[in-house]
Amino acid sequence: MKLTSADFIQALRKIADRIEQEKDYLSELDRAVGDGDHGVTMSIGWQAVKAKLEEFDGNSTCGEICKAVGMTFLNAVGSSVGPLYATAFIRGSAVLQGKTELNEDDIVQFWIAAVNGILERGKAQPGEKTMVDAWHPAMAALKASREAGKDLAASLEDAVKAAEQGMKSTAEMLSQKGRSSRLGERSLGHQDPGATSAYMILDSFTHTIKSLQSLAS
């Protein structure tokens, strides 16, 4: 399958809508382990992104869209997730430069670059109860499924499953990074908000890809 700049914009809008729907839930998760604002922050960031996307259309390159998304998100929110997702989108934009149409490999490379950005910026290891616990296994699954010859949609579905599992596993982890790390034992039993929104982002993107694919077939 192919993803045009217009499709890419559409996929990003859908993520913004998904976050908007879930923002109260995300804040509630953060209330248990952090400062209770993760939904607010993600909503502010993604709504700013959605507004910024108005400036782009099918003629824009995915690279420039992606870079603008990163900078917009960052300047709208700051916070922990601002630098993490900004770095993700800016790194991701590097592999999409000049492109108004993405093939399946471009999209895989985009996600891998983006998540590497998150890892480098945040320096969190898997198991520290952060968004990395969703993103890291998701990327491992994505790569494995591609190597096993699956198509993009199927591979992304595997990645989403891994993200979901990673997200759920954070409930059993002792927090090491971010605000919740002060909690120690008391963070047990609570799912990490950043891992949860990470799963939602990937899940939403995968839905878009699947519906584009079914439209195309």
Binding site: D24, S27, E28, R31, A32, V33, G34, D35, G36, D37, G39, V40, T41, I44, L74, N75, A76, V77, G78, S79, S80, V81, G82, P83, L84, R121, G122, K177, G178, R179, S180, S181, R182, L183, G184, R186
Partner: protein
Amino acid sequence: MKKLINHPAAVVEEMLEGFVAAHSRYVRQLPHNKRSIVSTNTVRPGKVGVICGGGSGHEPSFLGLIGKGMVDGVPVGNIFASPPPDPILEVTRAVDAGAGVIYLYGNYAGDCMNFDMAAELAGMEGIRVETVRITDDVASAPKSEEDRRRGIAGDFLVFKVAGAAADQGYSLDEVVRVTSKANQVTRTMGVALSPCFNPQTGRPSFELGPDEMEIGLGIHGEPGVQKGKIKPADEVAGELLDRILADMPLSRGDRAVVLVNGLGSTTYMEFFIMYRRTAQILAEKGVEIHRSYVGEYVTSLEMGGCSITLMKVDDELARLMDHPADCPMFVQM
């Protein structure tokens, strides 16, 4: 949750408008980003620029501390969220007077990442930036891992040292040295009695029973280390000091600066009752109190409770604490 606000999404912008209008002799907003607040009168050639910052909701920190003898500029974040690099960088440019700039903030993941990004960008523009991350919150990590600790009320005392040093003409290296020293001898333990309400979620930051208190709670409502029944003030003060002194022993003849900081909705009457016991305990140990601050310096919106901070001072720190300051929300003669 009842608040005197207009739109939840507009609280930070409207607060800043009101703040700058009320204190236009002290501060101004920079043209490019209204969240970049700088002093009108402290930047002078050769003086190290002092920047502190972080999320909104901690007023008088951070923006109320812009002024002579304190900080030169503050990039303002959303409620309990680090500002992004953009206003940090803009403030950095505005307060750099050729002697470099120091970034001071509580050691939170978000602040670290955003300020580091800004520092990198400033470095690319030829501005020398150094950073001291404040780590006074004893409850936030064990003794051997001090550098993972968070910054809470002790922020104020560390800002005070840095601001005084810069005002006295210390070089950037020297400001960094003395500020790091101040941070290393500053310890805080807090107790929360009631939650704050983020105007943007309308939800209490945590739940506490009608007769419960929580020791070690963070200034953003992050859960603490020990929940329990509320006790008499003298016992609470004793417990907080025990934890501080176990972490940073003080002995006869040592000198300390004491800060009893209110989190938002607790009365001054209670702060002074807590201070009373603090002073008694220090007197019993033969520790001399060099100077005291009792009031609201680093709040957490309308959270109930307070914290006790001790800074163990040598002659240099004592002298810097005594240096005057003139800011919208903190003045010392």
